[in-house]
Symmetry: C2
Subunit: 202 residues, 2 copies
Amino acid sequence: MRVIVVGATGTIGSAVVTALSVRHDVVKVGHTGGAFHVDLGSPDSITRLFRAIGAFDALVSTAGVAKLASLDELKDADYQLGLSNKLMGQVNLVRVGRQFINDRGSFTLTSGVLSQEPMKGSASISMVNAGLEGFVRAAALELPRGIRVNVVSPPWVTETLIALKMDPARGMPATIVAQAYLASVEGAATGQTIDPRKLAAE
Amino acid sequence: MRVIVVGATGTIGSAVVTALSVRHDVVKVGHTGGAFHVDLGSPDSITRLFRAIGAFDALVSTAGVAKLASLDELKDADYQLGLSNKLMGQVNLVRVGRQFINDRGSFTLTSGVLSQEPMKGSASISMVNAGLEGFVRAAALELPRGIRVNVVSPPWVTETLIALKMDPARGMPATIVAQAYLASVEGAATGQTIDPRKLAAE
């Protein structure tokens, strides 16, 4: 399969690229790195991306920005960032990409554990992540030609926790998280929120 | 208690006003009707509303607009309407209102059954409703002074189904749905998504 990975240079994205590359032809997309570039906050940029890449069989997005900050600190612009970038940016990958994707193709987006397991500071991120999961449940009912859409809700990733000088013991290595994306791309599920912790426990 | 009801003239809102009025002093707010007016899509309008009303003990919102339309028909502006009105409008009622609410006060917002039980045409609404539930789970962790926040996820309301010439048998009367809002205002729950069907079955 020809698989686009948006966010290919990120911690999870690069692990997904490695996992997919064993069996698939991967097209790497980054904000500034990768073979192609996209600004998720810009619908025009997304349209230009798909026109440049052409037909494909699957798209994985591990991209999108939203702000972690206390309820007191979060400003209007911080909420808008999450809504226009991580939420609508990924929604628009599906809305625009479905015109270019091959029959029986799939989209796999990324939300995150804070959707269902919030923490102080996650009001905007929890909102955005849960919104993505709601969109995916509904959009799956309407995609034509056997096209599927899922969202992976990753737990904290070990590499991220180390970078943030937090306890890595509560994290999951990116290589294990990547298996959830592989399951979405190669499996038959649609409309699902995939939790890599449940998948790893099976 | 002094309880603000935003959306007081709507189908659910007017039933909530009736239920609350037995024991509480209700301040009715509508888009054009009610004692006070607000445009949920405008943060300035929300700030003016709270300045005009002053201190209060609870706020219930049964307001907010989002578009039901197929994935093919939903335009950028349709998604933005739901995000700026039903989602951020209600989020902003909490963000601004918490500066005016009394100790141990509560906010009760409205999502809807399409969050978890989507149908064709609900991509934008399911996204918005799920986003509200995610925000409420997270914001509840940070509200000071014993302030609570919940969201009621109403099923289809009988009166609405009749108005839409749909089968009313699958709906719940607004008076029963209103009990879920009363439970949120008078109870101790916070961060919860309250399903009136589960409450009625208890």
